[in-house]
Every structure is written in C-alpha cells, then in structure tokens.
C-alpha cells in the first residue's frame, strides 16, 4: 500500500528554495491558487523508496512567521491550521550557507510550532570559497534537528535529503525558545486563559491579528484576550527576535566559523558598476532595450507562424465539416479563432518571463529596485513598481500579479491602478493598422513617421501611468506607513532549469487563466454577430440586389456585411453611435470598440468582418483590411479614417480600460469591486476626453 506524507518547503527568499523544490519534484509539479487569493500554490510529488510518495508544497518565501504580505500570510495560515489538508508532517527549512544566521530565525519559529523540521543548508558548494566551516553534528544536536548539506547547482545532497524526509518520525519536535520567557506575566496569563493550547501558537494568532488582520482559517478565537496595546505587542515581538538571535548566536559561535578574508568581493565589484550613479542607469536602459527588441522583433516569427496556422486551421474546419451549419461556424469562427487569439501571445509572454526570471535569478532585479526607488517614489510608486510596469508592456495580467511583493499597500494599489496604461501587446495590432492607415509614410533623419508614432504611443502610455500615479498619490489617503526593505542577494548565474520552469509555469497560467475569459468572450461575440432579430438579419439575401458584374464572392461579402449591420452586435454599434460620433467614429468602429472591451486584440478581427473582407477574416492579408478601411466613407462621401479620427482612435486605445481579464484580476488582487470599477470609469473617461479633444482640434 502506498501512503503519502505532506512536506512543506519553507524559507527566506533568495535561498534557492525553488531549486530544491525543482530538484525534489522534477517536472512532477503543478501550480494552482490558494482559495480566494491569487498567491501561486506550487506543489509536486517526490518519489521516495518503497512506494512512499511525498507531497511537497513550496510555500511562498518569507523571512519570518510574522507576515507582512499576502504571500507570507499563506505560510502562517497553513501552519496554524492543523486541519488543513496540506498541514505538513514534516517541514523543510531551506537556508543558504551564507545567511545561515538570519535563516535560522525562521527555523526556530517553525520548530516552536512542534513540527518535525529538517534544515537544508543550500549552496554548500560555496562553503570552501567563502571560508565557511560548519560543525554539522553539533548544530544538529543543539537545534534538535537533522541537517542536509545540499547543492542544487552541483546536484549533491538531494538523495540524503530524501532519506531524511522518509525517516521524519525520528526527528525531535523539541522547541527552541521558551515563549514564556519573553514576558512571564503576560504569557502565563495567556496560557491560563487557554489552558489546552500551545502558548506560542496563541501568541502568533494574537500578533497576526494585530499586524495583518487577515487570519481567516484559525482554530483559535483570541479576540477576547486583549491585555496589551499594539505598541506593547510590537515591543514583545522585538524582544522575541532578540531572544531568538541570542539563542542562535550562542550555538553558531561554536558550530560555525567564517574566515572573512576568503570573501571574494564579486558582489562589491559588480555593485560598483551595476548601481553606479551613471553606468547603473545606462546598463539598465540597455537591458530594457534588449527586452523590447526581443518582445517586438524576435517574437514576430513564431507569432506569424501561429497566426497563419490558426487561420488555416479555421479554414480547414470550415472546408472539412462543410454543411455542419451552426456548429461548424461556431468552431471555426468562434472557438478556433478565439484560441488562436490567446495562443498568439505566448511568444511575447514567454520572452518577457524569460528575461524577468533571468534578471531575478541573477540578483540584478534588486539592484534595479534600489536604483529606481527614489525616482518612482516621487510619483507615489515604489522601486518595486518597476517590474510590474515593465511586465505591463506584455500583458497587464501578469503585471498586476507581479505587484504582490510591494509591501506598502498604497504603493501597491497605485501600481495596480496605473499598470493598464502601459502599452500591452494586445494594443499593438490595433496601433499597427491605424498607424498604417492614417500616418503618412516618409521619414525624418532616417526614422520613419510611422515608427516614431508607435514609439510616441509607448511613451504616452508610460507617461500617463506615471502621471496618474502622481495624481492618485495626492488623492488616496491611507493609514498605511511607508515600508520598504529590499534584500540585496548575492549575484549568481541563473540555473537554466529554474528559468525554464518559471517561463513554462507563467505562460501556462496566462493561457489558462486569461485564456478562459478571452475564449468565452470570443464565443459571445460570435453569437452576437451571428444572430439578429427581425427579417433584415434572417433574410439578408432578399435585401441585396444582384448586379450583373458581381462575382459570387463579392455578393457573399455584401450579404455578410448587411447581416452584421442587423445582428445584435450591429444594433449595439448603432445605438452607441451618437456617443462616439464626436470622436470621429461611425457605428462600425463602434462595434469594434464594444468588442474591444472584451479584449483589445479582437478589434482588427472585428473590423475585418465588418468591412466584409471575407469569411475567413482572421489572419487574412492585412493589406486587404487596410484598403477596405481606407476606402470607407460616410454617406456624404467624406472618409471615415482621416488623420483626425485615426489619432483620436489611437488615443482612445492608449488610455481606455478595455480588458475584462485585467478587471477580473484587479478585483481578485484588491479584493473589492471598488478599484476595478474606478479603473474602468476613470481610464475610459480619460480616453474619451483625450480622443474628443484630439478629433475636434485636428478635424
């Protein structure tokens, strides 16, 4: 019979915890969500001997059990809830060899919860080079634990670790610190009030409530026990930290020696360059350029490939299941092109996360945060807002999720609110076609007007994000104090395996999380465009006169266009026409706008259908759509797409909140509808006003 044991991997950020997780589970892992919050829940299976399987849960990195962010809160909530199905039989604390002292703080806290705990000392291959020697036997004895020296880089120690996991029952559960010694009167009265409970657990619940107020799955109700003010509680927490360090330092004095002359100085050499007042910024700028180049240039090839593949797939479905009627159409036009619309973003998302994970793994990202914090703070943001803002150029969804490590709620909220202004990849196809349509060719000092316009739009998006952050910073009043602590980790060469796993996981999350919504919207749109009330829709053929010099293709196109006009979505477009007329758009553009509220990238496809380019519109030659749009006129013969209406449309797309998936993510991350609604109304209002002004001036 096979049985399963629960293992929790716990550790500080930057200790290589994820590497240990990857080494234990290989690709045998999956990422899910904790219920109600969007903290990634990484779990995997590790095969031990004799058919025993260990269920490994990789908990978010944390410096202590006192949570200061949503991610960290997950750890404490799990460890305080013995009834949780993931409650560990054994905990593994991953420490890196250079920061043993600080990592041991968390270790002693976990030990005090009476959970059998294994200490992994990672990056042990660096010990000789850093001049560190450890008396493992002594440390094991004094800390009442088992220690595994692991090097994920050299792939050593993993077998030993697996053996330790298997024999977890032999590990002592003796605690490290007597909680009562922090303040005898207080803790004795606490114990008296809850005689059957562990005093350290009680203490954690009390302080978590005071700090964070978010413990939801607790078994204990300590709300009645209030004998200390928050200020006094914090003083006790500080005392606790001091006591823990006293305990740790006393043991390390015997068990650890560090020959500091052996320190190699790689850190200070690289730091001197990478956070230099001038060179630091130059290097960062060059790295950004490379990332943009990758996202917009290198990704084009796979994207074109995906585009044509899905277009021909849709065509194939239509041809093969010809006569299938509604189902065939739904599959070909709704589902296949819907999925195609998701898959097409994979190359860009993958490239973005490739770079982000390399920058994070190498330790460089913290340097960027350090360099940029002061500048960003002027706008109510944090140095940590930079990563989300850069991610936003691919997609706002991962960008909003990337704000989680900003501890200060106000700075985090502002970042979430302004991130959708950055030019995400979904805006790109819209920009490209409108620019091609209204911006003249030709160039100035070797730079084409069209390329300059595109660049201006990117700068505009970023500028608007910064500007609105500045405004929000003035308006929003929160009680939260500024709070900024960034660890500056050692530089290290990123492990290819870790980078690839991150890229795969993030891409998968995007495809499935955002993909679900995009797919659903595509199907709804298809239905709205394929059905309509009344005779004009259902008997379109009889309304279109046959002219002699018309091919059957042209006639079919005409019928399709007529049907669309009288479909449900056509009716919506007509209804909003008075509203968008001052911006220079007709009802057909209106349909595109409405459809774009699902996801911007459907704009081009929708217009393609509206301007009756042909039935297999998606992936069609863009020139045909462009030509049709260029020739589109109002009844009085004036052109629909002029410089004025084009610029107005570009501005509208630059600023409007047209992405339901982002709104859904913002709701999840802020736990309230208030912020996404504010975003929707605020951004769309800005977009409307800017587009209105632009059109009226340029007209």
């Amino acid at each position: 019979m096979s049985k399963q044991l629960n293992v929790a991997l716990i550790g500080n950020p930057n200790t290589g915890k994820t590497s240990v997780f990857n080494a234990l589970t290989g690709l045998n892992q999956k990422v899910g969500n904790y219920p109600g919050i969007t903290v990634d829940k990484k779990q995997g299976i590790c095969k031990l001997s004799r058919g025993v399987k260990a269920h490994i849960l990789d908990l978010p990195g944390t410096y202590s059990l006192n949570a200061s962010s949503l991610d960290e809160n997950v750890v404490i909530e799990l460890l305080l809830n013995k009834n949780d199905k993931d409650y560990p039989d054994v905990a593994i604390i991953v420490s890196d060899v250079e920061n043993l002292k600080r990592n041991l703080l968390l270790f002693t806290q976990i030990k005090d919860l009476k959970i059998p705990t294994i200490l992994v000392i990672n990056m042990s291959d660096l010990m000789i080079r850093k001049g560190i020697t450890l008396d493992i036997k002594l440390l094991e004895e004094k800390f009442h634990t088992k220690i595994a020296l692991v090097s994920t880089r050299k792939n050593s120690g993993i077998t030993e670790l697996k053996q330790l996991i298997e024999s977890y029952k032999t590990i002592s559960t003796e605690s490290c610190l007597d909680t009562t010694s922090i303040d005898e009167d207080y803790f004795e009265s606490l114990q008296k009030a809850f005689p059957n409970q562990d005093v350290y657990k009680l203490w954690l619940v009390i302080t978590q409530d005071a700090n964070f107020g978010k413990i939801t799955r607790q078994e204990l109700d300590v709300s009645k026990f209030k004998t200390k003010s928050n200020q006094e509680l914090k003083r006790l927490q500080q005392k606790e930290a001091i006591k823990r360090y006293q305990f740790i330092n006393a043991i390390l004095k015997e068990g650890q020696t560090i020959d500091r002359s052996k320190a190699t100085g790689l850190r200070s050499k690289l730091d001197r360059l990478l956070i230099h007042k001038v060179w630091g910024y130059v290097i960062f700028f060059l790295i950004l350029l490379t990332i943009f180049q990758a996202i917009y240039d290198w990704a084009t090839f796979p994207m074109d490939l995906i585009d044509t593949t899905f277009a021909s797939l849709a065509g194939w479905v239509k041809d093969t299941f010809h006569g299938g009627g509604m189902v065939t159409d739904l599959v070909a036009e709704g589902i296949v092109s819907g999925i195609g619309g998701i898959v097409i973003f994979i190359p860009q998302i993958a490239f973005l996360f490739l770079f982000i994970s390399i920058l994070e793994e190498s330790g460089y990202m913290s340097r960027v945060v350090f360099l940029m914090d002061r500048v960003m703070r002027r706008f109510g943001l944090s140095g940590k807002s930079l990563v989300p803002l850069i991610s936003g150029t691919a997609c706002a969804i991962p960008a909003v999720m990337a704000t989680r490590n900003i501890e200060n709620w106000k700075e985090r909220l502002i970042t979430i609110l302004v991130v959708p202004f950055t030019t995400c990849s979904a805006r790109l196809p819209v920009y490209l076609i409108i620019i091609a349509l209204v911006i003249p060719e030709g160039s100035i000092i070797g730079l084409s007007y069209q390329a300059l316009t595109l660049m201006a739009l990117y700068l505009l998006g970023f500028g608007m994000a910064i500007f609105s952050a500045y405004i929000l910073d003035r308006i929003l009043k929160t009680k939260h104090k500024t709070f900024f602590v960034v660890e500056m980790p050692n530089y290290k060469l990123p492990l290819l395996k870790n980078v690839l796993i991150t890229v795969i996981e993030k891409t998968k999350t995007f495809v499935f999380e955002a993909g679900k919504i995009i797919l659903a919207i595509s199907i709804i749109l298809w239905v709205l465009a394929s059905y309509g009330p009344g005779d004009k829709f259902n008997n379109a053929e009889s309304y279109i006169e046959t002219t002699t010099h018309q091919t059957s293709y042209e006639r079919n196109d005409q019928i399709a266009a007529f049907k669309l006009e009288h479909s449900y979505i056509g009716i919506i477009g007509k209804t909003i026409e008075p509203l968008i007329k001052p911006l220079g758009y007709d009802w057909k553009v209106g349909i595109g706008l409405v459809a774009s509220f699902a996801a911007r990238e459907v704009f081009v496809g929708t217009l393609a259908t509206i301007y009756s380019v042909g039935s297999a519109s998606e992936g069609e030659n863009i020139d045909t759509i462009k030509t049709k749009m260029a020739n589109e006129t109002y009844a009085d013969g004036t052109k629909v797409f002029t410089l004025a209406s084009g610029i107005s449309l570009l501005l509208f797309y630059a600023f409007a909140m047209q992405c339901m998936s982002t709104l859904a993510i913002v709701k999840r991350e802020t736990k309230s509808w208030k912020w996404p609604i504010l975003q929707l109304i605020g951004m769309t209002a800005i977009a409307y006003i800017c587009a209105l002004i632009a059109f009226q001036f340029l007209k």
């Binding site: 410096y63 920061n99 914090k234 007042k277 002061r374 104090k481 500024t482 960034v486 660890e487």
Partner: protein, 77 residues
C-alpha cells in the same frame, strides 16, 4: 548628538544601540537590525536614498526615513 544609520557615510560602520521606534517594520528587526549588531553603509543610491547596508550578515536596502529611526554609535576603524 543622536546618531542614526542615516548619518553614516559610505563605507562607515556603526553599532546599533536602539531600534525600538514603533515605525521600524518588524521585518527589518527580524533581518537583524537589533541593538548590538554592527551595521556598515555600503552604497547610496542617487540623492542618498535608499541606503544599501550590511547588517547581521544580511545585505539590504532601506529608505532614508527608516534609516533615520535606527540609533547607532559610530565605530572608527
């Protein structure tokens, strides 16, 4: 005069004497900003903020306003 981490110059060292201000985040204390520990200022970002420190074997960056809450005594080397 009361000296704090914010008064350190690049490369200078001090020993923490008081970090009990209520506005110091607990996380910072747990990373080792506690009385008795040595702190060295490694580097400053432009406008001298944030500050890059080495304390308790940890390397971290904090903002100047937080640094000005942690009282130290300077150590001359």
């Amino acid at each position: 005069m009361r000296l704090t981490i914010a008064d350190l110059k690049k490369g200078e060292k001090g020993v923490i004497t008081d970090s009990s201000s209520e506005d110091i985040p607990l996380k910072l204390l747990e990373m080792g900003c506690l009385p008795g520990n040595e702190v060295r200022l490694l580097q400053l970002a432009p406008f001298a903020d944030p500050m890059y420190l080495n304390v308790n074997d940890s390397f971290l960056a904090i903002r100047k306003e937080t640094a000005s809450l942690i009282v130290i005594e300077k150590i001359d080397e």
